[in-house]
Assembly symmetry: C2
């Protein structure tokens, strides 16, 4: 496909921070970006070429929006699939392709797909709801501890519940669920891989995600991940196999567990720019956003090497505050050498909402971590 | 001055590529940017928060625009000064300060200022016009070779004429001119320095500007500049002295000559982001645009070290073409590893117009130069 950069219209379903940063990357090449989001003051609204008010989960909204663009991509996977299949019939280029989104939107389908493709993942079963899970525990079919993941609409740690003792069963979430063996995790890692329609794949180096166990959300993202060479290679190989299996064009963030036994298991994948790739904006030769554009426009992948080690932290809405956002401690934190600030422009803060992120660049990763902790303790998103 | 980032309005006089890239940097911090430019399809129009149609050289336009912002800055120095002095009286923060712009707008004033401050610069005299220059040559007051620089409106090599032989005198430009000794130049270098109101100054490492003699425009910008340590220090020291002398807040690009004798002489300064700092977007820990924001918002300066060597080239309008721009060879050049493309979004190309730039990142500077030459030979801005 030959595409004139000067005249192509890129549509993006969703106008959150990922959409915003994708628009900023597109702006460097003077690409025209069109964003569909239900909120007209979403982060991407102020930086895209054209904003459309509407719901990306709604068939009519996506159809009408998609008919006015040449290439349609996403910044969130929970979009209306029917409309995408329809638009594809009409000749709109959809990237990533709707069949891949269909597999990824539903965690039960995603897990079954890994098994069918021979990709390593933790053992699991699928149950229709809370009562069937409790019955399965009582019959001995599943054993505590385990992880419950709702098949649908899980996002940012929501829809995931870890059961370590029997009395927690009463707090199980309701809805179709994947019940997964609780892996004895040594590290959680993520590899972002890209693929274009020529089948070229390319990985960013693996990163380590350090989770805050309370909020089940990434606390620190460390790049590069400390990993022996063979394991790093294995992680990249798995990421490439995964994107090839999905037979998709675009970028895929592949989250994995490194178990205490030294196995790498697929956790879950997201077919779009991802929190675990924010550091690439300043720390790698190519950002994940540019790589996303390269893959959906069928350009050769950019250099994924890192320029400097980094630690990324999310700026989360401070618990206890909800309303019009104010940032406390911003000026003080701006003095931290090598800290790169990204404020997404969300007008409302709420507990644990992703309001921004900071990537700390430092040749010494321990020092980067200290700086990141300082910022985490001093920069607050409050109301 | 304590400034709430969430609510401050930053005004920018001029909406060209420098304004665009300043807006993109501001967007990372969710700052609101307002741009005044006579052209509503200027590069910055699509990425600023609010665009105002008007002429930054016009008193009324600047006054009306400035009254609606909290901080006013520039991306071009040829703006209406009277309006800035007036706005300052009304309490608008003007950065850089109008007194510095006044000295810099006029090359005769700028040169006299360097002399009065004891800053080294090539010998010169000022003449009211073409005839007085010819008379001075005939009387022996000035000697060929020399450089003629119009005092006003010189920009991008326009308004500069090098006289090497007597017969060129007929082509002298008309208007008040600085007539400068032609320095025996070994290298042309540039240092970008920032200063905030606390008086903190910080330099980016010197870069080498390799000029195309035909168009008198930068052909390659090489970072870091190959320079022995004492000379690099001297260049930075001069840049800091210069910004201190101007007593201004903001960033200043200080262009200098390294003479064959090993002297460093000030050439001219620009109190804004500069072509010689584009590489900092990807090659330095802090970009010149972020540094500009830091200095005008009185934040501590960012880390100016470079992450990787680089060669920057401008994408110039191909001679012989004028009209609606098309880019030729873009896809082919996108395969060059480490090349970062910036297309400004100017709708019209014309000979030697700056349409974009490319920064090639490569640990091996020779290889970066080869890649840059390949792109220069293959990426064309035509009509």
């Amino acid at each position: 496909m030959a595409m004139d950069f000067e005249h192509v219209k890129l549509g993006i379903l969703g106008g959150g921070q990922l959409g915003k940063m994708l628009c900023l990357a597109a702006s460097n090449w003077n690409l025209s970006t069109y964003v569909l989001d239900p909120s007209s003051d979403c982060p991407a609204a102020s930086v895209c070429t054209g904003f459309s008010h509407g719901n990306f989960r709604n068939y009519e909204d996506v159809l009408a929006f998609g008919r006015n663009v040449d290439i349609l991509t996403i910044e969130i996977e929970h979009v209306n699939l029917q409309a995408l299949f329809h638009l594809r019939e009409e000749g709109v280029l959809i990237r990533p392709e709707p069949h891949a989104l269909e597999l990824i939107q539903d965690k039960a389908k995603q897990k079954r797909f890994y098994i069918s493709e021979g990709l390593p993942t933790a053992g699991f079963s699928v149950f229709p709801g809370k009562n069937s899970i409790i019955a399965a525990v009582e019959s001995g079919e599943i054993e505590i501890p385990f992880v419950q993941k709702l098949s649908k609409t899980g996002y940012d740690g929501r829809g995931v519940y870890i059961v370590r003792e029997k009395k927690q069963l009463r707090n199980l979430l309701n809805g179709e669920s994947v019940i997964e063996d609780l892996v004895d995790v040594k590290k959680e890692i993520s590899v972002i891989v890209s693929r274009n329609s020529a089948g070229e794949t390319k990985c960013f180096p693996p990163v380590e995600m350090v989770f805050n166990s309370k909020a089940n959300i990434v606390e620190f993202l460390i790049s590069p991940c400390e990993l022996d060479g063979a394991l790093a290679e294995r992680a990249c190989e798995l990421a490439e196999l995964t994107i090839q299996s999905f037979n998709m064009c675009g970028i895929l963030a592949v989250e994995m567990f490194l178990s205490e036994k030294g196995e790498i298991l697929l956790n879950e994948s997201a077919p779009r720019p991802h929190n675990s790739g924010h550091h690439t904006i300043e720390a790698a030769f190519t950002s994940q956003y540019e790589q996303c554009l390269r893959s959906i426009f069928d350009l050769p992948p950019g250099n994924t090497e890192i320029k400097t080690p980094s630690v990324m932290i999310n700026i989360l809405g401070q618990p206890g505050f909800e309303g019009d956002v104010r940032y406390q401690g911003f000026r003080g934190c701006m003095g931290v050498l090598g800290a790169k600030f990204h404020i997404y422009g969300k007008t409302q803060t709420k507990p644990y909402r992703k309001m921004g992120h900071v990537t700390v660049l430092d040749d010494d990763i321990e020092r980067a971590l200290e700086k990141a902790k300082f910022i985490m303790g001093n920069l607050r998103s409050i109301a």
